[in-house]
């Protein structure tokens, strides 16, 4: 079986800065994969290149057997490729419900929207209480819920999440990750970028460890948990 997402020799440059340099990555259908690494390792740039927000300098991107690079960003979501961007990117002056409907913008089957809105609201009850408020009035955690709910409204086959735990209180992170688990159990393929490596490894099957734009380690999540290099560099301990 060929992978749902196949990345070969991806290079992303910003002027003279080489953010990603020769990255290879495979994500199988139904798999949960995480990219972990320090700040500036090139994780976000990788996701942005897959979503089409930055143009790669080089490399091959294939999704569901289709070359991605010639497809503009706005057409990729229609193929089931959704990104929850870093910093959430909610539309502050749209209401919660309008934000969620934006997620379904590319879809024609609007008769199904009410039911799917209900599904998102059942995952995040806070959003339901505030659905007619402007998204800018939400707390950071609620905005993250909204960004994830909005991505779900696009009916993703591959859901990419960029630092969903960033800047959130531990209890909120717990909540967000329990929903991410639920989403994965519904059969959505996950590609998760996280600085909180422990959480990411708990949720995912497989991990790619990135350093300065390159993959330095690929292994199953459980093996990474035991790997001394990963433990000291990303799990923040020398022993227990």
């Amino acid at each position: 079986m060929s992978p749902l997402l196949q990345v070969r020799n991806l290079c992303v440059h910003y002027g003279g800065i080489k953010a990603v340099e020769g990255l290879n990555l495979d994500v199988m259908e139904g798999e949960r994969v995480t990219l972990i690494g320090a700040n500036g390792a090139g994780k976000s740039s990788t996701l942005k290149a897959i979503a089409g927000l930055v143009a790669p300098a080089d490399g091959v991107l294939a999704y569901a057997g289709q070359a991605l690079r010639a497809i503009p960003a706005w057409q990729r979501v229609g193929k089931g490729l959704a990104l929850v961007p870093e910093g959430r990117g909610v539309f502050n002056r749209l209401t919660i419900e309008e934000n969620l409907l934006m997620g379904a913008y590319h879809r024609k089957d609007s008769e199904k929207f009410p039911q799917e809105l209900d599904h998102v609201y059942s995952l995040f009850t806070r959003l339901h209480e505030r659905r007619y408020q402007q998204a800018g009035t939400l707390s950071g955690g609620e905005q993250q819920m909204l960004a994830i709910g909005r991505a779900l409204m696009s009916r993703p086959r591959l859901l990419m999440l960029d630092e969903p735990s960033m800047g959130l209180a531990p209890v909120m992170v717990e909540k967000i990750f329990s929903v991410i688990r639920k989403i994965a159990e519904e059969g959505v393929t996950l590609l998760l970028v996280e600085q909180n490596a422990r959480l990411a490894l708990e949720v995912c099957d497989r991990a790619y460890v990135m350093e300065s734009g390159q993959v330095v380690l690929v292994d199953t999540a459980s093996a990474c948990m035991e790997n001394p290099m990963v433990r000291s560099a990303y799990l923040g301990d020398g022993g227990g």
Binding site: W74, V77, G89, F91, L94
Partner: protein, 307 residues
Amino acid sequence: MDIFLQQLVNGLTLGSIYALVALGYTMVYGIMELINFAHGDVVMVGAMVALTVLQALTGWGVPSGVALAVAVAVAMAVCMALGLAIERVAYRPLRRAPKLAPLITAIGLSIVLQQLAALIWGRSYLSFPSVLPTASMSWHGVIITAIQGLIIVLATLLMAILLLLVKRTALGRAMRATAQNPAVAQLMGVNTDRIIAFTFVIGSALAAVAGVMVAAYYNVGNYTMGFMLGLKAFTAAVLGGIGNLPGAMLGGLLLGVVEALGAGYIGDLTGGFFGSNYKDVFAFLVLIGVLIFHPNGLLGSRAREKV
């Protein structure tokens, strides 16, 4: 009191036109933070096209109502195509350029449109054929002409339609999303280039109608008519809070009323030293006042980068 009410009616008429034009400025600013200084000249093109069509049709003996409707439709079609072309040719190539580049392009474009119009229609004034009803109604000494009534009703209707489009439809949501965060809007499947082009088209359609209204109200059209009108509508947009649709409507109406009242009373207040021909001063006094005391405008909430 009679003068006050009369000038209020005159001001609301003028203000409705300013509001329609101001919407074009504010929509484009909202979606790409660009002051499209050529917008006033799109209004002029609308007026001149309509005048040409009207003169031809009435010459052939077409009934006035039909001639007027056709003229407005043709003016709208031409202006929408012009708006589309302006975005495509002048602004899209500069999407990633520094903010000043499209701004200078806008000013250049304004000059180009004016000179083209001078070549096509000449430099003299075209007069508006008498196709409009000359009836008027009087109420406690205040006279409302049919043209005034028509302008106010039509402008209100168009603004209501625009608000419904922007606030209640998926397309309107996509416009607002693109204005707030174009990159994320693309992630949602929005073709932001198309949305921006659409914004120009809508603004230009409103401009065309406003152009016909101005020409009908003053009975003339000329290749320079878009300049002052554009500046005033821009003032109205800033007054209401640029980027804000209801703000542009409010700003337009207020500016029209301020100008009309100013023109009505300036003679009395200065003992006849300044006449009503100084009415243009008021718009710019308003602009200076807003920029000094309330740069975000009446309904604008956030401080934004100003040109």
